[in-house]
């Protein structure tokens, strides 16, 4: 099924999320422009990866999709409902349709609740009153994430489980309401290498089985190939490249994407013998980002007079959509 045949589940339209800075809690001191003009569509059952370094705005974007932040400008449309404008009961119903898998498996589980309680919480909140029904769904979720037999785990507390097992509980909790969309924020970066693939494979299996859309947020490019159809690269609040995963890996267009590819190593002894060509500097401040293209101070291919003056719009280049003047 190609993109054009599947319906759009989530549509981000020119989204801006700005946080107000206040000095002494009173006077206005500018905005942190965490998300500054992001547009994309996500289809039913599609997996995308959002790749970017810290400070690029991916966390704020994610929280806005989850309904925790409100958009400053632009819209987040979920099945024709504008998420930024709903509240109360409607918001609660929306939240039942989005599952959230977090980065820190131990931190994501309340340490004073046992596994059964943890998994029941979303059900209780969403108003499922029958205890037998809740029990059934909890057990089903445990089996889906292969924490079997469930009775071995239900009465335990998070600190009694290994990292991998904790993350499985987090995933179980995310899917227990049978959502249509899963947002996974660095779901394996705090796990050991030998366990990462296991969890990613589990997620992928669940995604295929239930045809859930997944937004996989990471800074580790090496896993995106494994898990996503399309990759969106984010830098300083903007999406600089949107492309299918193969295009990103073999034919990256934006200089930042190329830098990320260059910096992501596959294990190879020869790595120790070469220096990597990398852009100097740091990601810019989100309060006063550079004029024009935000990457221009670090870009090896900057066009003076253009890149430092005008912000590039999106251009098509082969299979990718790039925000870079090089592809005018």
């Amino acid at each position: 099924m190609t993109d054009t045949q599947r319906e759009v589940l989530l549509s981000i339209q020119d989204l801006h999320v700005w946080f107000e800075l206040r000095r002494f809690g009173f006077s206005h001191a500018g905005y942190v422009k965490a998300v500054d003009g992001v547009t994309f569509d996500l289809h039913y059952g599609e997996t995308i990866a959002i790749v970017g370094e810290s400070g690029c705005g991916k966390s704020s974007l994610m929280k806005t999709i989850l309904g925790i932040n409100k958009p400053t400008k632009g819209k987040v449309m979920f099945k024709d409902q504008s998420i930024g404008e709903i509240g109360g009961e409607e918001l609660r119903q929306y939240r039942a349709q989005v599952g959230y898998v977090q980065q820190d498996p131990f931190g994501a589980l309340a340490p004073f609740m046992n596994i059964q309680r943890i998994l029941e919480e979303p059900l209780v909140i969403q108003g499922i009153k029958d205890p037998a029904e809740r029990e059934r769904r909890v057990r089903k979720a445990m089996e889906e994430v292969k924490l079997t037999p469930p009775d071995d785990f239900l009465q335990k507390f998070p600190h009694m489980l290994s990292g991998g097992q904790q993350q499985r509980v987090v995933i179980a909790r995310a899917i227990i309401l049978e959502p249509k969309l899963i947002v996974a924020d660095e779901p394996v970066s705090m796990l050991d290498a030998s366990v990462r693939v296991e969890i990613l494979r589990l997620l992928r299996g669940l995604q295929e089985k239930y045809q859930m859309a997944v937004i996989y947020i990471t800074h580790d490019l090496s896993t995106v190939r494994y898990f996503s159809e399309r990759v969106f690269v984010m830098y300083a609040g903007n999406m600089v490249e949107k492309a299918p995963v193969e295009s990103i890996v073999h034919n990256s267009k934006h200089p930042y994407t190329s830098a990320l590819m260059e910096a992501t190593a596959d294990p190879d002894a020869n790595n120790a013998l070469v220096y990597r060509e990398l852009p100097a500097g740091e990601p810019p401040s989100l309060v006063s980002p550079p004029a024009g293209c935000r990457f221009h101070p670090r870009c090896p291919k900057m066009i003076d007079g253009e890149c430092n003056v005008n912000k590039p719009p999106e251009f098509s280049a082969d299979a990718a959509v790039v925000s870079c003047w090089l592809y005018k």
């Binding site: 370094e53 810290s54 290994s162 990292g163 991998g164 050991d192 290498a193 030998s194 366990v195 990462r196 693939v197 296991e198 990613l200 494979r201 800074h219 580790d220 490019l221 090496s222 896993t223 190939r225 494994y226 890996v249 830098a259 990320l260 590819m261 260059e262 910096a263 992501t264 190593a265 596959d266 294990p267 190879d268 002894a269 790595n271 120790a272 220096y275 990597r276 990398l278 852009p279 740091e282």
Partner: protein, 319 residues
Amino acid sequence: MASDKLLSIQDLVLHFKTQRGPVQAVDGVFFDLGYKEAVVVLGESGCGKSSLAKALLRLLPRNVSRYDGKVYLEGQEIMGMDEEQYRQNVRWVRMSLVPQAAMNSLNPVMKVGDQVAEPMMAHHGVKKEEALIQAAKMFQHVGVPVDFLDRYAFELSGGMRQRVAIAMSLVTAPALVVLDEPTSALDVLTQANIFNVLKRLKKELEVSFVLITHDIATSSELADRVAVMYAGQIVEVSDAHRFFNEPLHPYSRMLMASVPRLRADVEPDFITGQPPSLLNPPTGCRFADRCPKRFAKCSEEPPVFNIDGIQVKCWLYNG
């Protein structure tokens, strides 16, 4: 006991006393390291590698139940030294440490320049002005602008702070620097930049590194030699080329197989089960439970076999 080796560790042991019994965090670690070389100690969580860093630098907590072994630094045995000798001659003089999350452990109320200068003043009795000059030199080596000497830690980004921590470990010109997970909290680009710095330091300052990490991909950026740690023990010591191409120990193989590859079209694998607890390690080979190649002999602890310069602790390589 080759004296042309910078560092030679034999049978290093560090056990802790806890409420639930002795934790055998480091239980027979061995490897060698030459001058201007970097060895990477690869291990996952629970293998005892953070305790290894403490053991190497004798930064021991109060509840140690056993600490012995032989460590030869530039030909001289240092485990037998008493506390004061060690402090004056080894720690931060010939061997220093960049601890885990070093960038978060910088003193927030001291200027970074002063912090980097401090080891010089403490260990070499150098005056502040001179120490600051040395600190400035280190800043240049790690790629931090010299005018950052007067800044405070919170004014610097994560990558800059990590470079400052590295500078602090180098300021007394040690022969060996131990790095404990130096880039685990940093972004990809910053991480790659730090490794560029480390590569350059290895060449220009002729300093050797012991890099302790779980990140297999980035470890190949610096490694000349690789030591794999599992459940408190070293199971394989090899040179980088041979290791990254074809490791010998089953654990090493499965570990390499679990790394997702960006450029190759290979489906990565994973290892079922969990590492054994360091509280009560099993007798026999500690990896036997999870090893697909285990056989009867594995219930006995294997010795270390030497296969053409590679040391493997596995019965598969018997004879």
